[in-house]
Symmetry: C2
Subunit: 402 residues, 2 copies
């Protein structure tokens, strides 16, 4: 096993030391720190493990760190608890060692233990005793040697991105990723880095989201595609305060370091489609709208369109320079919204689109006003924030009659 970051060292156990001594691992650790680390890695525990060991959390204990690891085959998460943090002793290590504990029960019981301190002792056959206050729990542990070995990632060039930036880039793109496993590559978000511009793209063929940012890096990469679901999990691990996230791209893996956490994810196989050609460059009709007003109006029209299971909402320019947003349901009736525009140039327009897709975009666009560009009723609709040029959305219209 190679580990990327020198400050985290996990001592591999020598199996010959383990044979039938009474006590194979023993420590007393702060419940809160243990619980935090468990919550961090728990997302990587297989919900329906193919083999029992994948339903477990691995403990590696040495005199510097208590390391928790969980892994399904797609992602692996490691959380490192420093035994000493400043003046505070977080864990007292009586005997270094390793064990794998079944996660499902363990994750819940630790939260509810009565004392602030938790003693964990592993005996022969990985029989584990957990003591806290007047509670004693005996668990059947598993052999850590059977736990999957984490991918070996060489210490390569590291790309540093502020945590809040990577979180907003994820939030502003994953909405357009496909949820269908029929085209696995489209369930991911494409990452490209060229000339210090980092770009995320997601598309499910009906809509596309792209988000760019300038980064301070000499690195270049392309066709790095990471599961949108995984990015969502990563996002939850990044604290809201200012944190730097270290990113290392390897052959078939990407490794993220967030504070005391290592997050490994596999790169999706395949070549991401070229999406550059579907984006119109000139528009027949251009609108500038107040984001909140148009979001509220489409939301009301969506409620009616949802009853028809189509989500079809229509947008039409009116002669008085306003626009009308409408939807109808054969059984229920009709919603009609008249909307002031900040700016309207070009040709009159009638177009229909999936209101759910449009709402997904409007919710993440983070700009008081937005630009919508149309190239005719059958051509892709472009939505962009007015406040900054970093994100761009494409929604294909619906072919409807009338």
């Amino acid at each position: 096993m190679n580990y990327l970051f020198n400050d985290f060292v996990v001592s591999g156990l020598n199996p010959s030391n383990l044979v039938e001594t009474g006590e194979q691992m023993k420590l007393t650790i702060s419940k809160n720190e243990l619980n935090d680390a468990i919550q961090q890695v728990a997302k990587a525990v297989s919900a329906r493990p193919a083999i029992p060991i994948l339903g477990g959390i691995k403990f590696d204990v040495n005199h510097q760190f208590v390391t928790l690891t969980a892994s399904d085959t797609d992602i692996s998460i490691q959380s490192f608890i420093s035994v000493e943090q400043g003046d505070k002793i977080i864990a007292q290590i009586d005997k270094p060692g390793s064990v794998v504990l079944p996660a499902k029960f363990f994750v819940e019981i630790v939260k509810k233990l009565p004392s602030d301190q938790v003693m964990i002792e592993v005996r022969s056959g990985f029989q584990t005793i957990i003591r806290s206050g007047s509670s004693e729990i005996q668990m059947v542990g598993l052999d850590p040697e059977e736990f999957p070995v984490l991918p070996s990632i060489e210490q390569n060039d590291i790309l540093q991105i502020p945590g809040d930036l990577i979180k907003s880039m994820i939030r502003q793109t994953i909405l357009a990723a496909s949820t269908s496993e029929q085209t696995p590559i489209l369930t991911g978000v494409l990452w490209n880095l060229h000339d210090s511009m980092l770009k995320f793209i997601a598309t499910d063929r009906h809509r596309l989201a792209s988000r760019t940012t300038k980064v301070d890096s000499e690195l270049n990469f392309s066709n790095i595609v990471i599961s949108a679901k995984t990015l969502n999990e990563l996002s939850r691990l990044i604290p809201d305060q200012n944190t730097l996230v270290d990113v290392v791209v390897a052959d078939n893996q990407v490794l993220f370091k967030v504070d005391n956490i290592l997050f490994y994810t596999r790169i999706l196989d395949g070549t991401y489609p070229d999406t550059s050609k579907i984006i119109p460059q000139v528009f027949e009709t251009e609108l500038v709208l107040d984001t909140k007003n148009v979001m509220d109006a489409i939301d009301r029209a969506y409620l009616m369109s949802r009853e028809e299971k189509t989500n079809i909402v229509r947008l039409a320019t009116l002669d008085d320079g306003t626009i009308e947003i409408s939807s109808s349901s054969t059984e229920l009736g009709r919603v009609t919204e008249q909307l002031e525009v900040k700016q309207l140039t070009g040709e009159p327009l009638r177009i229909a689109f999936n209101s759910k897709y449009m709402l997904d975009v409007l919710k993440v666009i983070d700009s008081e006003q937005l630009f919508i560009g149309f190239s005719g009723a059958m051509r892709p609709i472009i939505v962009k924030p007015m406040d900054h040029p970093y994100s761009m959305y494409v929604i294909l219209p619906y072919r409807t009659t009338g």
Copy 2:
């Protein structure tokens, strides 16, 4: 239609007035008051209506009240909005009338309307126009004459109960009601009133909850059984502040008045079983415990017992005067909790019970210390709060080996 409370008068429409005039009902009403009333009655709208009209909310508009009514066959809820509230004009009535509007879409759209005022206009054929700000909604309304007629309840003797008292009595008993429709009578809570003592009882044959209170009333009734689910809905309608709830028991209905709301529920058919004989009066072993400590200990044991799908937890008195609470799972291991007691008298004991049932009781018992009485390993367990004598719980033990 007879209505109980003289302060609420719903004007029945004379159908002859309705024939093909242009405008059948018209009002402008405050969105917030309308929305509050919609939320209050929405719980009585059938989720899967047998006929479309049961999926609707009925509006009855006269110059004093805007009345909203919803009804599935079990419960009916009416909310009365006063047209004037003090100096405030809540609704401007242009034309009294009635209509039924399909609830599902209507409930959601009203919340999201852009203006504080909502205009509702009903035209011929119950075509309804709703306007708010720049939104216009057309809905296909239904004929109010097809809406179920609410039960006629004579102005009888009224039992008044403080809202917070009735809420806590409901909360402290519904946990023991059956969720199985096999014995419909046991899905209800039994209400008895004799000699100014109001008593609620619920049991699913495995456990029983009873709660009594002294009320200031000359009334007597027995075998009034009301669905636990319905009582739960009623409970949500009662505000937390001090409110008086008026209760009227009629032949096959109970009517509750809470502020501006009338809540009708049907009395469950059948005779509630006599539960008085299953409650032991003398105990072989008596325990007094700290409620929070025993709840936390059983909660941890429950987590392990849940993995076995049995929820079996064992309780045993120890020689040192403490008790041990434990559970085990063949695959996972064992939880053992040692617990100080406040008081322990009588015989040594080993007993097993459903920990989920015990936790349900401990969560609602509202007393710092509790009494548990045992009459042997196979006899019902009694749990009572130490702070007050008003509630009592029975849990049947499990027959286990060892």
